[in-house]
Amino acid sequence: MNKEVSIKDLESVSYFSNEDLVDVVNAAIYLEKPLLIEGPAGTGKTFLAKAISSLFNLELIRLQCHEGIDEDKAVYEWNYKKQLLSIQQDKNAENLFDEKYLIKRPILNALTAEKDSLFLIDEIDRSDEEFEALLLEILAENQVTIPEFGTINGNDNRITILTSNGTRELSDALKRRCIYFFLDFPSVDVESKVLMNNIEEISESQAKSYASFISFVRKLNLNKIPSLIESVEWVKYNFLNKNKSTIDNLGILLKDKSDQEKYKEQIENANELIQE
C-alpha cells in the first residue's frame, strides 16, 4: 500500500504522537508487515489504529481477542443450518462446502476485503498460545487454509496492527513476523497537545503546566498509573470548576485508595513549603 503518514496527518484526526511512532508506522506500511504495539493500558494503542483508518478512509476490521478464542470465532465457520436446509431442498446438491455456506469471521473478512482495510487484532496477549500459531500463516503468508475448501489468498490492500498489554510473553515466532513498537505514557509535549485538543478554552501554557503536573503524578510510585483518558477527564473537570479543590474529585484520576493518599501527602508537603 503506497501510503505515508506524518505527525501532522495524525494530528488532523486528533491523534498526537512523536516522530518515532510515525517512522515505525511508515516502515510497517511500506514493508507490508504487521505492526505490533505493546504498552500499558490507556496509552492510545487501539486509538492509533482507529486514527489511521479514519485518516486513509480505511475499513476497520477488528478482532477482539479473549481467553478461549478459536478458529470458529476468528477465521471461519460453516453455516451448518444452511447446509442442512439446502440438502433437504435439493437432493442433488453436490458441493456442500462451497463459499456460500461459509460464514466469514474477522480474519477471513480482512483477507478478502475488496476495499482498502485496516485489520486490528486487539489485545493479542489475552488469547491462548495456540491461537497465536493460527495467526502465523495469515501474518506471514497472507493466506488462510480451510481443509474442505482449499487455500484462500488474501489481497494486498491491508494494514495490520496488533496490540498487546504485555500480560504474557508472546511467542518468538509471532514477534519475528512483526515490527515492534513500545508505546509508553505520553510526554508532556504530547499530553498538552491532547489537552488543548479536548478542552476548548485552555491556553498552551496552562495545558503544559497541567501536563507536567500529571507526569509528576505518574512518577509517584502508584499502584495504578492514570491513563491518558483519565488524566484528560480530570483536567477537563478541574479546568471548568476552578474553585474546587483537586482533592475532592480525585476519583477521576486515581482509582485506588492508597494512591489517593499518596497524592494527598504530596500536596500537603508542597503546601507546607509555601507556608515556610
Binding site: 508532556v188 503544559k208 507526569s215 483537586t246
Partner: protein
Amino acid sequence: MQMSSFKNEIVAFSQFCKEQQFFISIDKLQTYFGYIESKKIESFEEKIRYLYFLIPKDKDEKDKIKHLISEYFNFKFEDNTTFDFNFFNEYDLNENFQDVLIDGESRDIDFSKIAIEIIQDFENLDFSRPVSNAYWLNQIKKTKAYEDMVSLFDVQFDDTFKNIINNLNRENFSNFLDLKLLELLKEERNKTRDAYQPSELDNKDQLNELDYLYTNSEERKKLLEQTYSLGNKLAIKFKKQIKFSNKGNLNLRKTIRKSIQSGGVLQNIIYKPKNKKKPKLIILCDISGSMALYSLFGLTLLYGMVSRFNSIKSFVFIDGITEVTKDIKKLKKTEIESFLKNWNNFVKQDGHSDYSRTFEELMDEVKKNNANYKCLIVIGDARNNYRDIDEELINEISKSFKNIYWLNPERFKYWNTGDSLIRKFDRITNNTSEVRNYNQMKAFVNSIDFKRDLK
C-alpha cells in the same frame, strides 16, 4: 559502493552483537536492508534509527540494542520523553535566566553552553587521575557555579500546583545538566586517554543484567515492577495448562440440547470438566539474612503469582515456614518492602536459616491438607548454617512433588562451598538456576514448561 561498505559495517555490528549475547536474525536484517535500499535512506543517522526500529522484537531487546548501538557506533539517541520543562513568567524576573536561554522567544535552554561554563569554572580538574567520571560530576556539583545555576529555580509560588511543577523543573534541569556535564567530561578525558584506561567500558550498566544487589532505589523500582509482571506471567502459564488438561467425560444432556440447533445431529460434543483435584502450586521464599536483597525480588515474584490466582500457596521461611498467601494478597505492590521489615515475625527459633526444619514443616502441611500439590518453586540459597539434612526427607520431598524448581541467588561458583546444600537438592529438582539479575529470572520463567512437566 557506499551501500556495500555500509552493509559490511552492519554485518560487523551483528557480529559484535553476537559476542554480547544478542542475536540478530537474518530475515530481520533482510527486511532492514530492503527498507533502507528501497527508501533510499542516505543519512547515517536515519540508517541507525531504523536499525533501532526494525530489528528488536520486544522491549528488552529494544533496550539492549540501544545500548549496543551507542557502544558500537558511538551514537546517541535523542531522548525526548524524559526531560520536560514548564516555564513560569516568574522565572523571567530572574536575570540569570535570561542569560541561559538561547533566545527569549522559544525558551530553549542552551545546556552545552552552561556546562562548558561550569567546567571552566572548576579549576582543579585532573584528568589523569584514575577515578570515574561520576566522581568528577559529584565534585562539580559541589561547586558554587553549579549551585548558582540550579538556584534559578528558587522561586516561591503561592500556588501548590505551581510549586510542585517548579520542583519538577528543578529536578529535570539538574538531570539534564548532569548528562551534558558527563558528556563533556567524557570528551575532555578522552583527549588525555593514554594516561589512563577507564574501566567504564564494562557493559554492566545495563539494567537487566545488573546484579540485584548493586541496584539503587530508582533501578530497583523499575526492576521490581518487571519482576512483578514476570510473576504474573508465570502464574498465567501455570493456570493455562490446567485448563487444557481438564476435558472429562461426555456431557450428554448439554450435547443433546445443543444438537437441537442443528436439527438433531450431534454436531457439537460437550464434555464435562474433569472431576479431578486441580494441581496446586507451592512457592517458597527464603527471607533469611544471607539472602539480602534477593529476598525482596523473590517475594515480589511470589507476590506477582499469588495475587493472580487462588490455587497458588505461598510460604516464607527462615527456620520454619509461615504461610503468607492471605497476608500478601492484601498488600499493594508498593508495600512489599515494608512487609519484609517485619522480619522477626517469621523467626521461629534462632533466626538462622534451617532448611531441614523448613521442609519438615512443609511436608506436614502437605499431608495435613491432602491436596494435590504438584509443583514446588523454591527461592533460596540452600545455606543451612552447618546443620545437617536427612536424606530421607529429601526423598520424601521428591516423592510428594512431581516438579521442583529452584532459584538460587548465589553465584554459581560458590555453590556447594561451605554450608551450601544445593547439591543435595539439585538431584531432585527439574531445574536449578542461578538467578541474580532480571535476565536470568526471565530466562528461568521462560524455561519452565508446565505442560511438559506435569504430564
